[in-house]
Point group: C2
Chain length 208, copies 2
Protein backbone atom coordinates (compact mmCIF):
# COMPACT_ATOMS: atom_id res chain seq x y z
CA UNK A 1 0.00 0.00 0.00
CA UNK A 2 1.30 3.42 -0.97
CA UNK A 3 0.00 6.88 -0.20
CA UNK A 4 -0.80 8.75 -3.39
CA UNK A 5 -1.60 12.39 -3.90
CA UNK A 6 -3.08 13.44 -7.21
CA UNK A 7 -2.77 17.08 -8.20
CA UNK A 8 -5.66 17.75 -10.54
CA UNK A 9 -9.37 16.96 -10.66
CA UNK A 10 -9.93 16.08 -14.31
CA UNK A 11 -10.60 12.82 -16.11
CA UNK A 12 -7.07 11.48 -15.70
CA UNK A 13 -7.09 12.34 -11.98
CA UNK A 14 -10.35 10.46 -11.62
CA UNK A 15 -9.09 7.44 -13.58
CA UNK A 16 -5.83 7.20 -11.63
CA UNK A 17 -7.60 7.78 -8.31
CA UNK A 18 -10.06 4.99 -9.02
CA UNK A 19 -7.28 2.59 -10.02
CA UNK A 20 -5.08 3.57 -7.08
CA UNK A 21 -7.86 2.86 -4.58
CA UNK A 22 -8.70 -0.43 -6.26
CA UNK A 23 -5.02 -1.29 -5.90
CA UNK A 24 -5.18 -0.78 -2.15
CA UNK A 25 -3.45 2.60 -2.00
CA UNK A 26 -4.61 5.68 -0.10
CA UNK A 27 -5.58 8.66 -2.23
CA UNK A 28 -5.60 12.39 -1.68
CA UNK A 29 -6.71 14.81 -4.39
CA UNK A 30 -5.72 18.45 -4.67
CA UNK A 31 -7.32 20.92 -7.05
CA UNK A 32 -7.05 24.65 -7.44
CA UNK A 33 -10.79 24.68 -6.83
CA UNK A 34 -11.32 22.98 -3.47
CA UNK A 35 -14.97 22.25 -4.25
CA UNK A 36 -13.87 20.15 -7.19
CA UNK A 37 -11.32 18.21 -5.13
CA UNK A 38 -13.86 17.60 -2.40
CA UNK A 39 -16.39 16.39 -4.97
CA UNK A 40 -13.83 14.11 -6.60
CA UNK A 41 -12.70 12.69 -3.25
CA UNK A 42 -16.32 11.95 -2.39
CA UNK A 43 -16.96 10.37 -5.78
CA UNK A 44 -13.87 8.20 -5.45
CA UNK A 45 -14.90 6.98 -1.99
CA UNK A 46 -12.59 4.49 -0.33
CA UNK A 47 -11.44 7.03 2.22
CA UNK A 48 -10.09 9.43 -0.41
CA UNK A 49 -9.41 12.90 0.98
CA UNK A 50 -9.15 16.39 -0.48
CA UNK A 51 -6.07 18.47 0.30
CA UNK A 52 -5.51 22.20 -0.06
CA UNK A 53 -3.87 23.45 -3.26
CA UNK A 54 -0.22 24.19 -2.51
CA UNK A 55 -0.12 22.46 0.88
CA UNK A 56 2.23 19.58 1.70
CA UNK A 57 0.73 16.51 0.03
CA UNK A 58 -0.23 13.59 2.23
CA UNK A 59 1.11 11.16 -0.34
CA UNK A 60 4.70 10.14 -0.88
CA UNK A 61 3.95 9.75 -4.56
CA UNK A 62 2.56 12.94 -6.08
CA UNK A 63 0.99 12.47 -9.50
CA UNK A 64 0.55 15.71 -11.37
CA UNK A 65 -2.53 15.09 -13.49
CA UNK A 66 -2.79 18.44 -15.25
CA UNK A 67 -2.58 19.54 -18.87
CA UNK A 68 1.07 19.77 -19.86
CA UNK A 69 1.08 23.59 -19.78
CA UNK A 70 0.07 23.51 -16.13
CA UNK A 71 2.61 21.05 -14.77
CA UNK A 72 5.70 23.23 -14.34
CA UNK A 73 3.68 26.18 -12.95
CA UNK A 74 1.99 23.89 -10.42
CA UNK A 75 5.27 22.35 -9.23
CA UNK A 76 6.76 25.85 -9.02
CA UNK A 77 3.77 27.00 -6.98
CA UNK A 78 4.01 24.05 -4.59
CA UNK A 79 7.75 24.68 -4.14
CA UNK A 80 9.13 23.34 -0.87
CA UNK A 81 5.82 21.60 -0.14
CA UNK A 82 7.11 18.89 -2.50
CA UNK A 83 10.46 18.42 -0.73
CA UNK A 84 11.25 14.73 -0.43
CA UNK A 85 8.35 13.71 -2.65
CA UNK A 86 8.38 11.59 -5.77
CA UNK A 87 6.74 13.73 -8.45
CA UNK A 88 5.17 11.75 -11.27
CA UNK A 89 4.74 13.65 -14.53
CA UNK A 90 2.20 11.98 -16.82
CA UNK A 91 1.76 14.81 -19.31
CA UNK A 92 1.92 14.92 -23.09
CA UNK A 93 3.16 18.27 -24.37
CA UNK A 94 1.70 17.82 -27.84
CA UNK A 95 1.79 20.58 -30.43
CA UNK A 96 -1.48 22.01 -31.70
CA UNK A 97 -2.03 19.18 -34.17
CA UNK A 98 -0.84 16.39 -31.82
CA UNK A 99 1.66 15.13 -34.38
CA UNK A 100 4.72 16.46 -32.62
CA UNK A 101 5.86 17.98 -29.34
CA UNK A 102 5.24 21.59 -28.38
CA UNK A 103 8.93 22.06 -27.62
CA UNK A 104 11.48 21.54 -30.36
CA UNK A 105 14.43 21.14 -28.01
CA UNK A 106 15.49 17.73 -26.71
CA UNK A 107 13.82 18.23 -23.35
CA UNK A 108 10.64 17.07 -21.64
CA UNK A 109 8.06 18.34 -19.20
CA UNK A 110 9.61 15.93 -16.68
CA UNK A 111 13.05 17.52 -17.22
CA UNK A 112 11.58 21.00 -16.81
CA UNK A 113 9.78 19.87 -13.66
CA UNK A 114 13.09 18.60 -12.26
CA UNK A 115 14.56 22.08 -12.77
CA UNK A 116 11.93 23.71 -10.55
CA UNK A 117 11.39 20.86 -8.05
CA UNK A 118 12.68 21.44 -4.48
CA UNK A 119 15.69 19.69 -2.98
CA UNK A 120 15.11 16.05 -2.21
CA UNK A 121 12.25 15.68 -4.64
CA UNK A 122 12.61 13.22 -7.50
CA UNK A 123 10.83 13.26 -10.83
CA UNK A 124 9.59 10.21 -12.67
CA UNK A 125 7.93 10.28 -16.08
CA UNK A 126 5.24 7.70 -16.60
CA UNK A 127 1.75 6.78 -17.80
CA UNK A 128 1.87 9.24 -20.71
CA UNK A 129 1.75 6.66 -23.50
CA UNK A 130 -1.63 5.30 -22.42
CA UNK A 131 -5.03 6.65 -23.36
CA UNK A 132 -7.23 7.13 -20.32
CA UNK A 133 -9.90 4.58 -21.26
CA UNK A 134 -7.20 1.98 -21.94
CA UNK A 135 -5.81 2.63 -18.47
CA UNK A 136 -9.32 2.15 -17.11
CA UNK A 137 -10.21 -0.94 -19.11
CA UNK A 138 -6.96 -2.70 -19.88
CA UNK A 139 -3.70 -3.77 -18.37
CA UNK A 140 -1.31 -1.72 -20.50
CA UNK A 141 2.45 -1.58 -20.08
CA UNK A 142 3.51 1.54 -18.20
CA UNK A 143 6.78 3.04 -19.39
CA UNK A 144 8.70 5.11 -16.84
CA UNK A 145 11.92 7.12 -16.78
CA UNK A 146 13.80 8.93 -14.06
CA UNK A 147 17.20 9.47 -12.49
CA UNK A 148 16.50 8.27 -8.94
CA UNK A 149 16.38 4.48 -8.58
CA UNK A 150 14.50 4.56 -5.28
CA UNK A 151 11.87 6.91 -6.69
CA UNK A 152 11.43 4.68 -9.71
CA UNK A 153 11.11 1.62 -7.48
CA UNK A 154 8.27 3.39 -5.67
CA UNK A 155 6.49 4.16 -8.92
CA UNK A 156 7.05 0.60 -10.12
CA UNK A 157 5.45 -0.76 -6.94
CA UNK A 158 2.51 1.56 -7.48
CA UNK A 159 2.13 0.43 -11.11
CA UNK A 160 2.16 -3.20 -9.99
CA UNK A 161 -0.54 -2.45 -7.41
CA UNK A 162 -2.72 -1.45 -10.39
CA UNK A 163 -2.14 -4.85 -11.96
CA UNK A 164 0.07 -3.37 -14.66
CA UNK A 165 3.66 -3.92 -15.73
CA UNK A 166 6.17 -1.10 -15.19
CA UNK A 167 8.93 -0.87 -17.81
CA UNK A 168 11.94 1.25 -16.94
CA UNK A 169 13.28 3.05 -20.01
CA UNK A 170 16.22 4.65 -18.20
CA UNK A 171 17.17 8.06 -16.86
CA UNK A 172 15.24 11.29 -17.08
CA UNK A 173 16.73 12.07 -20.50
CA UNK A 174 14.53 9.21 -21.74
CA UNK A 175 11.42 11.20 -20.76
CA UNK A 176 11.85 13.08 -24.04
CA UNK A 177 11.50 9.85 -25.98
CA UNK A 178 8.56 8.73 -23.83
CA UNK A 179 6.87 12.00 -24.77
CA UNK A 180 7.77 11.11 -28.36
CA UNK A 181 6.18 7.71 -27.81
CA UNK A 182 3.04 9.63 -26.86
CA UNK A 183 3.20 11.37 -30.25
CA UNK A 184 3.77 8.00 -31.91
CA UNK A 185 0.75 6.56 -30.12
CA UNK A 186 -1.40 9.39 -31.48
CA UNK A 187 -0.06 8.71 -34.98
CA UNK A 188 -0.83 5.01 -34.69
CA UNK A 189 -4.36 5.74 -33.48
CA UNK A 190 -4.95 7.94 -36.50
CA UNK A 191 -3.32 5.69 -39.09
CA UNK A 192 -2.02 2.27 -38.26
CA UNK A 193 -4.37 0.89 -35.68
CA UNK A 194 -7.44 2.80 -36.71
CA UNK A 195 -8.87 3.25 -33.27
CA UNK A 196 -8.06 4.18 -29.72
CA UNK A 197 -8.37 0.79 -28.05
CA UNK A 198 -4.70 -0.10 -27.85
CA UNK A 199 -1.50 0.73 -26.07
CA UNK A 200 2.17 0.68 -26.93
CA UNK A 201 3.83 -2.17 -25.12
CA UNK A 202 6.56 -4.72 -25.19
CA UNK A 203 6.24 -8.20 -26.63
CA UNK A 204 8.88 -10.68 -25.55
CA UNK A 205 10.15 -13.41 -27.83
CA UNK A 206 8.88 -16.86 -26.93
CA UNK A 207 11.58 -18.67 -24.97
CA UNK A 208 13.78 -20.72 -27.27
Amino acid sequence: MRSITIIGTGNMARALGTLALAGGNTVEVMGRDHTKSADLAKALGGGATAGEWGAVPAGDLVIVALLSDGVVPAVTHYGDALAGKVIVDISNPFNATSDGLAHREVTSIAREVAKVAPAGASVVKGFNTVFRHVLENGRPDIFIAGDNAQAKAGVEAFVRSLGMRPLDAGGLEMAHWLEGAGVLTMGLARHGVGGWDFALGVTELPAA
Copy 2:
Protein backbone atom coordinates in the same frame (compact mmCIF):
# COMPACT_ATOMS: atom_id res chain seq x y z
CA MET B 1 5.42 -11.29 -54.51
CA ARG B 2 7.44 -8.12 -54.58
CA SER B 3 10.86 -7.39 -56.02
CA ILE B 4 13.21 -6.20 -53.31
CA THR B 5 16.65 -4.65 -53.61
CA ILE B 6 18.78 -4.43 -50.52
CA ILE B 7 21.60 -1.90 -50.50
CA GLY B 8 24.15 -3.24 -48.03
CA THR B 9 25.76 -6.58 -47.28
CA GLY B 10 25.86 -6.61 -43.48
CA ASN B 11 23.91 -8.54 -40.87
CA MET B 12 20.69 -6.60 -41.35
CA ALA B 13 20.91 -7.05 -45.15
CA ARG B 14 21.32 -10.78 -44.64
CA ALA B 15 18.44 -10.99 -42.16
CA LEU B 16 16.06 -9.03 -44.37
CA GLY B 17 17.17 -10.91 -47.49
CA THR B 18 16.51 -14.25 -45.83
CA LEU B 19 13.08 -13.16 -44.61
CA ALA B 20 12.17 -11.59 -47.95
CA LEU B 21 12.96 -14.79 -49.84
CA ALA B 22 11.07 -16.90 -47.30
CA GLY B 23 8.12 -14.56 -47.89
CA GLY B 24 8.16 -15.30 -51.60
CA ASN B 25 9.78 -12.09 -52.80
CA THR B 26 12.67 -11.74 -55.25
CA VAL B 27 15.87 -10.31 -53.80
CA GLU B 28 18.77 -8.36 -55.26
CA VAL B 29 21.67 -7.22 -53.09
CA MET B 30 24.00 -4.34 -53.86
CA GLY B 31 27.22 -3.62 -51.99
CA ARG B 32 30.05 -1.22 -52.54
CA ASP B 33 32.24 -4.32 -52.68
CA HIS B 34 30.78 -6.51 -55.42
CA THR B 35 32.49 -9.61 -54.04
CA LYS B 36 30.54 -9.19 -50.82
CA SER B 37 27.22 -8.77 -52.65
CA ALA B 38 27.93 -11.80 -54.81
CA ASP B 39 28.81 -13.84 -51.72
CA LEU B 40 25.68 -12.70 -49.91
CA ALA B 41 23.45 -13.43 -52.94
CA LYS B 42 24.93 -16.90 -53.13
CA ALA B 43 24.50 -17.49 -49.40
CA LEU B 44 20.89 -16.34 -49.57
CA GLY B 45 20.10 -18.68 -52.45
CA GLY B 46 16.54 -18.67 -53.73
CA GLY B 47 17.54 -16.95 -56.95
CA ALA B 48 18.97 -13.90 -55.19
CA THR B 49 21.12 -11.75 -57.46
CA ALA B 50 23.91 -9.23 -56.94
CA GLY B 51 23.60 -5.81 -58.58
CA GLU B 52 26.25 -3.18 -59.24
CA TRP B 53 26.65 -0.39 -56.67
CA GLY B 54 24.96 2.72 -58.03
CA ALA B 55 23.11 0.99 -60.87
CA VAL B 56 19.33 1.04 -61.25
CA PRO B 57 18.01 -1.47 -58.69
CA ALA B 58 15.99 -4.41 -59.97
CA GLY B 59 13.59 -4.10 -57.07
CA ASP B 60 10.69 -1.69 -56.74
CA LEU B 61 11.32 -1.59 -53.00
CA VAL B 62 14.86 -0.54 -52.17
CA ILE B 63 15.84 -1.20 -48.57
CA VAL B 64 18.91 0.73 -47.52
CA ALA B 65 20.55 -1.54 -44.94
CA LEU B 66 23.57 0.58 -44.06
CA LEU B 67 24.76 2.25 -40.87
CA SER B 68 22.87 5.52 -40.41
CA ASP B 69 25.88 7.63 -41.44
CA GLY B 70 25.96 5.91 -44.80
CA VAL B 71 22.32 6.19 -45.82
CA VAL B 72 22.14 9.76 -47.13
CA PRO B 73 25.51 9.48 -48.96
CA ALA B 74 24.39 6.24 -50.62
CA VAL B 75 21.07 7.67 -51.79
CA THR B 76 22.91 10.76 -53.03
CA HIS B 77 25.36 8.55 -54.91
CA TYR B 78 22.58 6.50 -56.51
CA GLY B 79 20.77 9.69 -57.54
CA ASP B 80 18.47 9.23 -60.53
CA ALA B 81 18.99 5.47 -60.41
CA LEU B 82 16.38 5.54 -57.64
CA ALA B 83 13.78 7.49 -59.63
CA GLY B 84 10.34 5.98 -59.11
CA LYS B 85 11.55 3.63 -56.37
CA VAL B 86 10.26 3.24 -52.84
CA ILE B 87 13.28 3.81 -50.60
CA VAL B 88 13.00 2.14 -47.20
CA ASP B 89 15.17 3.66 -44.49
CA ILE B 90 15.65 1.28 -41.56
CA SER B 91 18.48 3.13 -39.82
CA ASN B 92 18.92 4.25 -36.23
CA PRO B 93 21.00 7.42 -35.97
CA PHE B 94 21.97 6.86 -32.34
CA ASN B 95 24.40 9.12 -30.55
CA ALA B 96 27.67 7.64 -29.26
CA THR B 97 26.05 6.24 -26.12
CA SER B 98 22.86 5.03 -27.84
CA ASP B 99 20.66 6.92 -25.38
CA GLY B 100 19.68 9.66 -27.78
CA LEU B 101 19.78 10.62 -31.45
CA ALA B 102 22.88 11.90 -33.18
CA HIS B 103 20.92 14.88 -34.50
CA ARG B 104 19.35 17.30 -32.05
CA GLU B 105 16.95 18.83 -34.55
CA VAL B 106 13.47 17.44 -35.11
CA THR B 107 14.43 15.57 -38.25
CA SER B 108 15.22 11.99 -39.21
CA ILE B 109 17.46 10.07 -41.57
CA ALA B 110 14.32 9.32 -43.59
CA ARG B 111 13.56 13.05 -43.88
CA GLU B 112 17.15 13.75 -44.94
CA VAL B 113 16.94 10.93 -47.47
CA ALA B 114 13.78 12.48 -48.91
CA LYS B 115 15.71 15.72 -49.45
CA VAL B 116 18.30 14.02 -51.68
CA ALA B 117 16.06 11.39 -53.32
CA PRO B 118 15.30 11.86 -57.03
CA ALA B 119 11.92 12.91 -58.41
CA GLY B 120 9.29 10.20 -58.20
CA ALA B 121 11.04 8.32 -55.41
CA SER B 122 9.23 7.92 -52.11
CA VAL B 123 10.75 7.35 -48.70
CA VAL B 124 9.31 5.11 -46.03
CA LYS B 125 10.78 4.66 -42.56
CA GLY B 126 10.43 1.22 -41.09
CA PHE B 127 11.94 -1.75 -39.28
CA ASN B 128 14.19 0.43 -37.09
CA THR B 129 12.57 -0.43 -33.79
CA VAL B 130 13.37 -4.12 -34.06
CA PHE B 131 16.61 -5.84 -33.06
CA ARG B 132 17.91 -8.08 -35.83
CA HIS B 133 17.61 -11.36 -33.96
CA VAL B 134 14.02 -10.51 -33.00
CA LEU B 135 13.28 -9.90 -36.68
CA GLU B 136 14.83 -13.28 -37.43
CA ASN B 137 13.17 -15.22 -34.63
CA GLY B 138 9.93 -13.46 -33.87
CA ARG B 139 6.94 -11.84 -35.47
CA PRO B 140 7.40 -8.29 -34.23
CA ASP B 141 5.19 -5.35 -35.12
CA ILE B 142 6.80 -3.21 -37.83
CA PHE B 143 6.17 0.51 -37.46
CA ILE B 144 6.33 2.56 -40.64
CA ALA B 145 5.98 6.22 -41.61
CA GLY B 146 5.95 8.07 -44.90
CA ASP B 147 4.12 10.66 -46.95
CA ASN B 148 3.16 8.55 -49.98
CA ALA B 149 0.19 6.25 -49.38
CA GLN B 150 0.97 4.00 -52.34
CA ALA B 151 4.58 3.59 -51.24
CA LYS B 152 3.46 2.72 -47.73
CA ALA B 153 0.95 0.20 -49.09
CA GLY B 154 3.83 -1.50 -50.92
CA VAL B 155 5.93 -1.67 -47.76
CA GLU B 156 2.93 -2.93 -45.80
CA ALA B 157 2.40 -5.73 -48.31
CA PHE B 158 6.08 -6.63 -48.00
CA VAL B 159 5.86 -6.66 -44.20
CA ARG B 160 2.83 -8.95 -44.39
CA SER B 161 4.73 -11.29 -46.72
CA LEU B 162 7.18 -11.73 -43.82
CA GLY B 163 4.33 -12.80 -41.55
CA MET B 164 4.54 -9.56 -39.61
CA ARG B 165 2.07 -6.78 -38.90
CA PRO B 166 2.73 -3.34 -40.38
CA LEU B 167 1.58 -0.39 -38.29
CA ASP B 168 1.35 2.97 -40.02
CA ALA B 169 2.36 5.79 -37.67
CA GLY B 170 1.63 8.57 -40.17
CA GLY B 171 3.58 10.93 -42.40
CA LEU B 172 7.32 11.26 -42.77
CA GLU B 173 7.47 13.70 -39.83
CA MET B 174 6.69 10.67 -37.68
CA ALA B 175 10.00 9.08 -38.72
CA HIS B 176 11.64 11.29 -36.08
CA TRP B 177 9.54 9.67 -33.38
CA LEU B 178 10.15 6.21 -34.80
CA GLU B 179 13.86 6.93 -34.50
CA GLY B 180 13.08 8.01 -30.94
CA ALA B 181 11.27 4.71 -30.44
CA GLY B 182 14.56 3.08 -31.43
CA VAL B 183 16.26 5.01 -28.63
CA LEU B 184 13.46 3.98 -26.27
CA THR B 185 13.90 0.35 -27.26
CA MET B 186 17.61 0.57 -26.37
CA GLY B 187 16.71 2.11 -23.02
CA LEU B 188 14.21 -0.64 -22.28
CA ALA B 189 16.75 -3.32 -23.18
CA ARG B 190 19.22 -1.81 -20.75
CA HIS B 191 16.78 -1.15 -17.91
CA GLY B 192 13.17 -2.23 -18.03
CA VAL B 193 13.19 -5.49 -19.86
CA GLY B 194 16.66 -6.62 -18.97
CA GLY B 195 17.43 -8.35 -22.21
CA TRP B 196 17.26 -8.05 -25.93
CA ASP B 197 14.56 -10.60 -26.69
CA PHE B 198 11.64 -8.25 -27.12
CA ALA B 199 10.15 -5.69 -29.43
CA LEU B 200 8.03 -2.63 -29.06
CA GLY B 201 4.55 -3.35 -30.30
CA VAL B 202 0.90 -2.62 -29.95
CA THR B 203 -1.48 -4.45 -27.67
CA GLU B 204 -5.15 -4.02 -28.40
CA LEU B 205 -7.80 -3.98 -25.73
CA PRO B 206 -9.87 -7.14 -25.58
CA ALA B 207 -13.16 -6.50 -27.37
CA ALA B 208 -15.83 -5.34 -24.94
